[in-house]
């Protein structure tokens, strides 16, 4: 039997998909499931970040604000009005997309570093806002105390389970959907225009690309999907607090995962999360008390090294190795 490169890659893809779906069946230790969820969660939000930070070619450093908006919208709706988080998820996404457009209008006019600073200020501003507002009318925002979502039994409608496995599959499906959308968009006019505008706005405009419009669309998409992750987060942790869902650390982490993996590529955020998150989680849990800060030190070191030696992210070299590996498999099969 002979396989072409394409077929081999397809087979590998299928195999990995099966493995990922079967992981909860084989791994009984939910602690590891938890790590997988963390990893996939970051894959997801870094992929959503990538719309703006990667394809549109700027550096947003305030995406945690969208997580906060998503988490707060669905949580307030759920805790106070009993509206299912699934509905709240959508509502949060839409609100967040609108805010994304509003904030995008002026910020996209800024260049390079100024854009980054504006998004930092936006992210921090949203966080401080949530921290300081206790109530708006009868709506309890919780202020600095945050909002606890009471556990009221396993329920799909209420988006809560004791077991981690439902969360595993939800984030997995969310990730696959987002990746599919990304792949689809990047192969459409929208993707071409977005990337063109990111690479060289002036040249793109002269080819008929309304750069500002496509950047705004990207911002709206990014905000929408990030906010959805916010709802997931709220239901997964069952507690939200401005400084944990809206923190600047989170915003930075999202960006760094995508950048280390390779911004502007579909695989980049996946690889970035795969490299950084298990490392972070394992060092934190196994070295936690012993050497606090070691994992962040390593993160910093990786950041510096990647920027010096692999400025386009680790995806570049890994893809090369993988392609070589597939080629070899083809020749083996043939001989």
């Amino acid at each position: 039997m002979k396989f072409s490169e394409k077929q081999i890659k397809l087979i590998l893809l299928m195999l990995s998909a099966i493995v990922v779906f079967l992981i909860p069946v084989f791994i009984k230790n939910q602690g590891y499931i938890q790590i997988f969820i963390v990893v996939m969660f970051f894959m997801y939000i870094a992929t959503a970040w990538n719309f703006v930070g990667g394809f549109a070619g700027v550096l947003p450093l305030g995406n945690a604000a969208f997580i906060a908006i998503g988490a707060y919208t669905s949580t307030i709706l759920f805790v106070q009005y009993g509206i299912s988080p699934w509905v709240g998820m959508l509502a949060g996404g839409i609100i967040s997309a609108i805010i994304g457009i509003i904030i995008g209008l002026p910020t996209f006019k800024l260049r390079g570093a100024y854009f980054a600073l504006a998004t930092i200020a936006f992210g921090e501003g949203i966080k401080v806002l949530f921290q300081n507002i206790d109530k708006i009318g009868s709506v309890n925002v919780g202020g600095a105390r945050g909002i606890l979502i009471s556990y009221s039994g396993d329920s799909f409608a209420n988006f809560q389970w004791v077991s981690r496995i439902p969360y595993y599959y939800i984030i997995l499906v969310m990730l696959i959907i987002l990746l599919a959308i990304t792949v689809f968009l990047m192969n459409s006019k929208m993707g071409y225009y977005l990337i063109a505008g990111g690479e060289d706005p002036e040249a793109a405009a002269s080819l008929g690309v309304n750069v500002a419009k496509y950047k705004l669309i990207a911002m709206a998409l990014s905000a929408f999907f990030t906010a959805i992750a916010g709802t997931f987060y709220a239901q997964w942790i069952l507690y939200i607090l401005p400084k944990s869902v809206g923190s600047i650390d989170l915003s930075f982490e999202i960006a760094f995962i995508a950048i280390i993996g390779g911004r502007g590529t579909i695989i980049g955020p996946i690889l970035g999360a795969l490299l950084l998150k298990p490392l972070g989680e394992l060092t934190r849990t196994y070295l936690g008390g012993a050497l606090p800060g070691l994992h962040l030190f390593i993160l910093g070191l990786i950041l510096v090294l990647v920027m010096i030696y692999q400025p386009r992210g680790i995806q570049e070299v890994l893809t090369k190795i993988f392609n070589r590996f597939v080629k070899k498999m083809v020749t083996i099969k043939r001989s």
Binding site: K9, L13, Q30, V183, L241, P292
Partner: protein
């Protein structure tokens, strides 16, 4: 384009697969042993409350080392001969990290029991996770009211809750007024803008009304504040007679020093056992903290049997004196051990039953400010009593001196009120 991306995607999933294999190897080794009680500890080992967490960890290690060296559990049942294994995870004082820690402990490390988490804001959500999984959670320190009273079956709190703290703070103010015949009219409230601070402020406002004091200043500041001078200037211009304060560690130091530097001296400053109880506080404020009242559950100068000996041993092992933080950990650990000894099982329902039945008053439980540890059906230690200490100069050092209730007060010390040189 299309092809390429799918290939990359499949490649990533491949990597995922390898990570899975890798972690699968861990699973087996983690579950290999099972003749021990695994206790998960979530503590702030780094971040703003780290010193409290680190000292609490020392006391826990001290107790468990001794306990295991003495042969572990001796009882009739499954635990006979078992030893205690402690797992410590850092919360960084961050609720989210705390929640993931608990999930990790329960799902990954299969702990039988959890204790911690010092910060109320962490304990509150983290305990829900334990409850969902029916894992007992023993809270030695966190005081926020909302932690108990949620109908949780496996949550037990040894510390007094904040409404008792504030209640006793106001009783103390009443006491001061009566004792010294001073007319106390005005209060100033200053709190850190987080869950801990906010819940104190809420009940202060209520109590002030009930007790007939006028709140002339109610000010919050951000956790990240770099300069507290504006707050101090506000106090200075409002001039409340009594200043009630709730702070975390860093800001407690900053606030106290800034007040001293600006000569802002109300009749009394009463703090709430947060940052002011942190061992770093006196170290970093010294004279500036003179005459500050702080609320506490314990103080080293209380004349309790066994305390001196305990301090000697502990100091030998870790080089520090026992203090409020370590003593909270001390009672917490001993409560857990005492109850486990009785049940001789890690079954959470048996644990709950025994927790509710026990009234612990002998042995290690004689060193507390209150006579016994006993829980109501909400899991609250019913008679967790409180004392007030005043920072005073003893010899050439500043110490926390117990001054109230009068019967617990250190010999030779009385409440100083209003403080000298007040405005």
């Amino acid at each position: 384009m299309c092809k390429l991306n799918w290939f990359k995607f499949s490649f990533s999933l491949m990597l995922f697969f390898f990570v899975t294999l890798f972690s699968g190897a861990f699973v087996n080794s983690a579950n290999a042993q099972k003749k021990e009680v695994v206790i998960g500890n979530i503590l702030p080992l780094s971040g703003p409350s780290a010193s409290a967490g680190v000292e609490g960890k020392k006391m826990r290690e001290f107790i468990v080392k001794q306990f295991n060296a003495n042969g572990g559990f001796e009882c009739k049942g499954e635990l006979n001969g078992a030893k205690i294994k402690m797992i410590y995870l850092d919360t960084k004082s961050n609720p989210t990290v705390g929640v993931t820690d608990v999930q990790q402990l329960i799902n990954g490390d299969n702990v039988d029991l959890i204790t911690g988490a010092w910060n109320s804001g962490v304990t509150y959500p983290a305990s829900q996770v334990a409850e969902m999984h029916k894992v007992p959670f023993v809270v030695p320190v966190s005081v926020m009211d909302r932690i108990t009273g949620r109908g949780f079956k496996y949550l037990f709190r040894i510390a007094a809750k904040d409404s008792w703290w504030t209640r006793d703070q106001f009783r103390f103010i009443d006491y001061l007024a009566k004792k010294t015949n001073k007319k106390i009219k005005t209060l100033g409230l200053v709190y850190i803008n987080n869950d801990f601070g906010k819940s104190f402020d809420d009940s202060w406002l209520k109590l002030a009304k009930q007790h007939g004091y006028k709140v002339i200043l109610n000010e919050s500041y951000a956790e990240t504040a770099t300069d507290l001078t504006p707050v101090v200037l506000k106090i200075k211009s409002a001039k409340p007679q009594i200043l009630l304060v709730v702070s975390d560690a860093a800001d407690a130091i900053l606030l106290q020093n800034t007040m001293a530097n600006y000569d802002v001296r109300p009749w009394a400053v009463i703090s709430s056992g947060g940052g002011q109880a942190d061992p770093a506080f006196i170290k970093n404020t010294g004279k500036n903290a003179d005459y500050l009242f702080d609320m506490s559950e314990w103080a080293p100068d209380m004349n309790k049997p066994g305390l001196k000996e305990l301090n000697k041993k502990f100091k030998k092992a870790y080089g520090i004196d026992v203090n409020g933080e370590t003593m909270d950990a001390y009672v917490g650990m001993h409560t857990i051990i005492a109850v486990l000894k009785k049940t001789c099982s890690t079954n959470p329902d048996k644990f709950r039953k025994e927790m509710l039945r026990s009234k612990l008053s002998t042995g290690p439980f004689t060193v507390m400010s209150y006579p016994y540890v006993k829980f109501d059906k909400d899991g609250q230690n019913v008679d967790a009593g409180l004392i007030l200490v005043q920072v005073r100069k003893v010899g050439n050092k500043y110490e926390r001196v117990t001054v109230w209730p009068e019967e617990d007060a250190r010999a030779g010390f009385k409440v100083v009120f209003p403080q000298p040189n007040h405005y």
